[in-house]
């Protein structure tokens, strides 16, 4: 059974031949959601790479006389602090901008690790079959039986909440999604004629895999990885929310959400904006990922 994408389809009526420019616009319009995603991500990336240029204040500067100020449009808000201040007087907007670093870095690195592990295992299982396949498949089954969150929580609680531990844990618990998909694709491609040809011409296993099979699987992996970045951002946010991720005072959206939760009964903005940031970033990546899929391989359904 194929899963369907969440891509938004548009149906084109038959049109008369159009100018090149018209065709370009049509193509862009069809990819409009991916473009929106790309814009959002560009914003998030610039916040992560050059926060100093965008943030009005220092995210670490505490000013206890200015604590818990509401956003500028609420009564009591001040123009200096557009989104208000937190419980120790730090500018919320700046914290949110700086928080993008933790989120994006974590998401990206964790995905890189899990992709590397998952794809390798999937390729091995699909290409060699037999015992290797059995072992890997059963390993995948066991991993899937664990709620990832508990596994991650336990490991981090034991090893300590450092940035590196976070990446390692996320990477080593989320690789299964790649393995399944890659294994299935490798199984298909292994039987194709060009692979048989390469093998009979004396190509080593590594060469056959890298030069013949992998290039065909790369599209799938890229789309999957892009969507996984979003999910890793959510996971990092949750771990930080529980206090087991990025440690304060480093700004992280999940951590800010957890700090703000205590005040949620009357200082609503402390819990709202970090969540919106997480939502926005994740949505942007999902849109971009769907757009990528439409571009690279519309028949792919993850």
């Amino acid at each position: 059974m194929q899963e369907t994408s969440t891509r938004l389809e548009t149906f084109d009526l038959p049109t008369p031949p159009s100018s090149g420019l018209h065709r370009v616009f049509r193509r862009l319009w069809r990819l409009r959601f991916g473009i929106i995603g790309a814009v959002i991500i560009a914003l998030a990336l610039s916040a992560a790479i050059i926060p100093q240029a965008l943030a009005p204040q220092d995210p670490y500067a505490q000013q206890l006389s200015r604590r818990l100020l509401p956003p500028v449009w609420s009564p009591g808000g001040q123009a200096e602090y557009l989104l208000g201040t937190d419980h120790v007087g730090r500018d919320y907007l700046s914290r949110i901008i700086y928080g993008s670093r933790a989120a994006l870095l974590c998401g990206f690195l964790a995905t890189l690790l899990s992709c590397a592990v998952g794809v390798s295992l999937g390729v091995a299982a699909g290409y060699y079959g037999g015992v290797v396949d059995s072992v890997v498949s059963n390993l995948v089954n066991v991993m899937l039986a664990f709620p990832f969150i508990l596994l991650a929580l336990v490991v981090i609680a034991v090893m300590g909440p450092s940035f590196v531990n976070l990446i390692v844990v996320l990477g080593l618990t989320t690789w299964t999604v790649y393995t399944r998909v890659v294994r299935a694709e490798v199984l298909v491609y292994r039987e194709r004629d060009f692979v048989h040809a390469a093998i009979s011409l004396g190509g080593t296993d590594l060469r056959v895999i890298l030069r013949h099979i992998l290039p065909n699987v790369v599209n799938t992996i890229v789309v999957l990885a892009s969507l996984e970045v979003a999910r890793n951002i959510l996971r990092e946010a949750f771990l930080s929310f529980l206090g087991l991720g990025i440690q304060p005072p480093t700004p992280s959206w999940g951590g800010m959400l957890s700090e703000g939760r205590i005040y949620m009964l009357n200082k609503w903005w402390l819990a709202t904006f970090p969540g919106l940031a997480i939502f926005g970033a994740t949505l942007g990546i999902n849109l971009l990922g769907d757009g990528l899929r439409d571009l690279l391989d519309p028949h792919l359904d993850t």
């Binding site: 059974m1 194929q2 899963e3 369907t4 994408s5 969440t6 891509r7 938004l8 389809e9 149906f11 059963n138 390993l139 089954n141 066991v142 899937l144 039986a145 664990f146 709620p147 990832f148 969150i149 508990l150 596994l151 929580l153 336990v154 490991v155 609680a157 034991v158 090893m159 979003a230 959510l234 946010a237 949750f238 929310f241 529980l242 206090g243 959400l257 939760r261 949620m264 009964l265 609503w268 819990a271 709202t272 970090p274 969540g275 997480i278 939502f279 994740t282 949505l283 990546i285 999902n286 849109l287 769907d290 359904d301």
Partner: protein, 305 residues
């Protein structure tokens, strides 16, 4: 059918064994269990005493055997925090988790399956687009944020439900909706694609060309066949369900197994952590097994794979 059953059972047992292994190894992540169980200031003598008392110096195989022997008898050790058998603490909280899990699952299914099926039937329509957008947004939403927002809106500003707690159906609404929202997007998408696959089939075309009413075509032919993929989806959702429970129970302070697991992890209460992880994983294995068996029963083709 019998070989299929046996094969799936053996697979499930293998997974259970893997779970027991991972749970056992938890204490050894840092190499020396006393590092986890005793505070940093403990002297070497105290560590030695503990190692002797708990048998940490024995070969791992022996310890694993001991762990398993106790486990199958129901002895998972005593909690370090509350001096009670870990098993009792978990069983006490199981009803709350099951209640929330079933309510959340129910809400997500009621929401996702009709919408998913409808969006497949009316493909390309406004409804389809709206549903797809909704699914997309639902997947991007951090669920713990949603829970907090729901509390702020419905409990703090509107006062229609209590802020947190356990007991009455009113306490169940927000957590169940949050959990349901977490599961709905994926279910919706998979239902939609399952239906789409079915609707493409020849027998649907035959039914329509026979002149059957569209309603009959959909209910009698399409849905029945799509239900296989739907059940697969529901089975797969149990893993998500447990993950979602961890988040939801934490945000709403729901007294279930998952929140106990989180607090025990924070308190380094390892017997309880191990027991909680084992139970949650077992629920997932059981659910997947039931779903697989149900599918094997409904779709004869799968039995002969």
């Amino acid at each position: 059918m019998r070989t299929y059953l046996i094969r799936r059972l053996l697979q499930a047992l293998l997974v259970c064994w893997g779970i027991s292994l991972i749970t056992f190894m938890m204490l050894w992540l840092k190499g020396d269990p006393t590092l986890l169980l005793l505070p940093i200031e403990a002297t070497e003598q105290e560590r030695q005493d503990m190692r002797q008392a708990m048998g940490f110096d024995d070969p791992l195989i022996v310890q694993y055997g001991r762990f398993m022997k106790r486990a199958v008898q129901g002895d998972f050790g005593r909690s370090f925090f509350i001096d009670e058998p870990a098993l009792n603490l978990i069983l006490e909280r199981m009803p709350a988790t099951l209640q929330l899990a079933l309510a959340g699952l129910g809400i997500s299914l009621i929401l996702a399956i009709p919408l998913g099926a409808l969006s497949a039937i009316k493909r390309g329509s406004l409804l389809d687009n709206a549903v797809t957008v909704f699914a997309l947004m639902g997947q991007a939403l951090p669920i713990f944020w949603l829970g907090i927002m729901l509390i702020i809106v419905f409990a703090v500003y509107l006062h229609v439900v209590p802020v947190s707690g356990y007991g009455t159906p009113r306490h169940l609404i927000l957590p169940a909706v949050t959990l349901g929202w977490y599961l709905a997007p994926v279910t919706m998408r998979l239902t939609r694609s399952g239906m789409l696959d079915v609707l493409k089939q020849d027998y649907i075309r035959t039914a329509r060309s026979k002149g059957l009413r569209e309603q009959r075509v959909i209910f009698k032919h399409a849905l029945k066949n799509a239900s296989i993929s739907i059940i697969t989806v529901v089975g797969l959702q149990f893993g998500q369900l447990m993950s979602g429970s961890v988040i939801t129970e934490t945000v709403f302070a729901w007294p279930g197994v998952a929140s106990l697991a989180v607090t025990s992890i924070r308190n380094s209460d390892f017997p309880v952590v191990q027991t909680a992880v084992v139970f949650l994983a077992l629920i997932i294995v059981l659910a997947n097994l039931c779903a697989d068996l149900l599918i094997g029963f409904l779709d004869p083709r799968i039995r002969y794979e």
